[in-house]
């Protein structure tokens, strides 16, 4: 909180925006599926932080935070986890196929 001229919400907002930027860059420009998956996770992390900022700024009535965005983030994290698990499974299967064919199909 002492990081003037930012208050905590602005700082986290900027951090979230940076993560979104890095993630978008990675997901668009990388070739490898693994890197794109990691970029997707960064992007997701950035969005979740932004939800936290929204919760902080939107809190009224003396609450320290708005609970609704927090509930949304928890759901979002579960969904992102499932997506990552599904993508990892596919990447593993693909890698196994590539190994089986002695690498003559390397992409």
């Amino acid at each position: 909180m002492s990081l003037a001229p930012f208050d905590a919400a602005t700082l986290y907002g900027l951090l979230g925006a940076v993560l979104v930027g890095i993630g978008l860059y990675g997901i668009v420009l990388h070739e490898s599926f693994m890197r794109r998956l990691l970029a997707f996770n960064l992007l997701g992390g950035g969005v979740f932080i932004l939800f936290g900022v929204v919760a902080r700024r939107g809190a009224g009535a003396g609450f320290p935070g708005d609970p609704v965005p927090q509930a949304l983030v928890i759901t979002g994290v579960v969904v992102a986890f499932c997506a990552t698990a599904l993508a990892i499974t596919l990447i593993e299967r693909l890698a196994a196929k590539d190994e089986a064919s002695d690498g003559d199909h390397k992409s």
């Binding site: 993630g23 700024r57 949304l72 199909h105």
Partner: protein, 504 residues
């Protein structure tokens, strides 16, 4: 006004059933013996079809949307399910196509006592039910975050269908599809965060009442639209679609091409017409129209150049999705009292319906052709008409609708869009529609001409095909034709329950 729009209506329970029944079906699949999986899945989908038709009938009869408040909580605290005229039509379309696809897929993924592989039927039927439930939730959902979860369910159910045969190519196609879809849904989620931050609610009805010319809303829609476009495979974000849809087994391709891409399109439609204030969206709507026009031309030209039937049909999906996006400039630019009473609105919905039925029939026919001659290379189609007359008839009828020759659903859709474009003096959209129709005629005749010509050597059928499966495909093609006999004017049904645009 909110209170009047927001109370559980009689028949609201149907919406809950539409979401819950497929999920119960999935759970039941795990409880029964593997040889009964098919029967349970088909029974579930039959019940789902009955529910969706009852929903449509209830909306028509009451001339008002069906609403169900989950747990009795009013938005913005609670979640509402709400089905208006267009959503009811979409639900019924989904119910019908999924049920017929299930009949077609019977036996393809069926129980095989000799085969060691027992997982494929389980995966296929689970995912088919999951797609049904997710689509029903997308059509009935009212809360933007709820819709996000439904979109993700749809993606997670669709991706495994692409790589059912586990070859290297389909795994790569599934991964590429997943990456596009995930990037799209994160962008959508970012837009949800912005909207919640600005308005403190995610309920579409509540939001539509407080909308204004607001930077936050524009930013949110500017983020969500590209995300949803990536999921819908609108040009130029269509690259994942052809390998994914062409690599999947025929029954799965039919569902992916006919229904799954329509889910995210429906959300774009809701965002643009329910949330954006009138007049504000004109530039954006024209932008979407330009992308749609690009899709029509590029998709059709690429379809003309394909050597394999399934890839040709997949590229034709890219082109036909393009037509859907012409609705945005045409409906916002119309002189009608509201965009929902315009010719273009009905034309767009007809295009969506006709394409769904015709494309599902086309992919099923492609699968049957593959079984009949052992491959789907178009230069090997000579004499197909004698080998598989019902299948070729299916392709002909579905092709008529894709080209837009009368009488067919595709003709009605394109005719309404053409009239809308000429009525508004926007001749450039008319040129695109006509050019797309000519190109579509090109690729459809590329299939049909060899199929109807006499073979050089009498070919033999490789594989016997059950007549029920051929008839399943044919019935969808016939429905695509029958849609063309509906009256050529705006349907009042499609305007039921739309949130009327109030000028600020």
């Amino acid at each position: 006004m909110t209170a009047a729009l927001m109370a559980t209506t009689p028949g609201g329970l149907l919406l809950v059933l539409a979401v819950v029944v497929p999920v119960i079906g999935i759970l039941a699949l795990w409880l029964v013996r593997s040889r009964d999986i098919e029967r349970v899945a088909i029974a579930t989908l039959t019940v789902n079809l009955a529910i969706s038709l009852a929903t449509l009938q209830a909306v028509r009869a009451s001339d008002a949307p069906l609403v169900y408040l989950v747990g009795g909580w009013l938005p913005p605290l609670g979640l509402a399910l709400r089905v208006d005229g267009i959503a009811a039509v979409m639900t019924a379309m989904t119910g019908a196509i999924v049920a017929v696809t299930a009949l077609y897929a019977r036996g393809q993924f069926g129980f095989d006592p000799q085969g060691p592989e027992q997982r494929r039927p389980m995966v296929f039927w689970t995912m088919l039910l999951a797609i049904t439930g997710a689509l029903n939730l997308i059509f009935a959902g009212e809360d933007l975050f709820n819709l996000y979860v439904a979109l993700e369910l749809l993606t997670f159910a669709a991706v495994p269908l692409v790589s059912l045969d586990r070859s290297r190519d389909t795994l790569a196609a599934a991964l590429r599809y997943l990456v596009f879809a995930l990037a799209g849904s994160v962008l959508y989620l970012l837009g949800v965060a912005v909207i919640y931050g600005a308005y403190g609610t995610l309920d579409l009805v509540v939001l539509s009442e407080m909308r204004g010319a607001d930077g936050a809303l524009l930013l949110a829609i500017g983020l969500m639209t590209p995300g949803l476009i990536a999921k819908t495979a609108l040009f130029p974000l269509h690259l994942w679609l052809p390998p994914a849809h062409a690599g999947a087994p025929a029954a799965a391709s039919a569902i992916l091409s006919a229904l799954v891409v329509k889910g995210s399109f429906f959300l774009i439609l809701r965002l643009w017409f329910d949330l954006l204030p009138p007049g504000l969206g004109t530039i954006g709507a024209n932008g979407l129209g330009v992308l749609g026009a690009g899709a029509v031309i590029v998709g059709s030209v690429l379809a003309l150049r394909q050597a394999r039937l399934k890839l040709l049909v997949a590229y034709s999906t890219v082109a036909q999705i393009g037509y859907l996006f012409l609705v945005f400039p045409l409906a916002t630019g119309s002189e009608a009292a509201s965009p929902f009473a315009s010719l273009a609105w009905t034309g767009g919905v007809l295009q969506l319906l006709a394409h769904a039925f015709a494309k599902a029939a086309m992919f099923m026919a492609a699968g049957l052709v593959y079984e009949a001659i052992g491959n789907d290379r178009i230069d090997g189609f000579r004499g197909l008409g004698r080998l598989a007359p019902v299948t070729v008839l299916t392709m002909t009828l579905a092709g008529l609708s894709l080209m837009g020759l009368p009488p067919s659903g595709g003709f009605s859709a394109k005719w309404l869009m053409l009239s809308a474009a000429l009525g508004e003096g926007a001749w450039w959209w008319a040129v695109v529609i006509l050019a797309g129709g000519l190109l579509a005629a090109g690729y459809v005749f590329r299939i049909l001409v060899p199929a109807f010509s006499a073979p050089d050597t009498p070919a033999e059928r490789q594989h016997p095909v059950a007549l029920t499966r051929e008839l399943a495909a044919l019935s969808l093609a016939v429905i695509a034709i029958l849609i063309g006999f509906l009256p050529l004017s705006p349907w009042p049904l499609l305007a039921i329950g739309r949130l009327i645009q109030v000028s600020p």
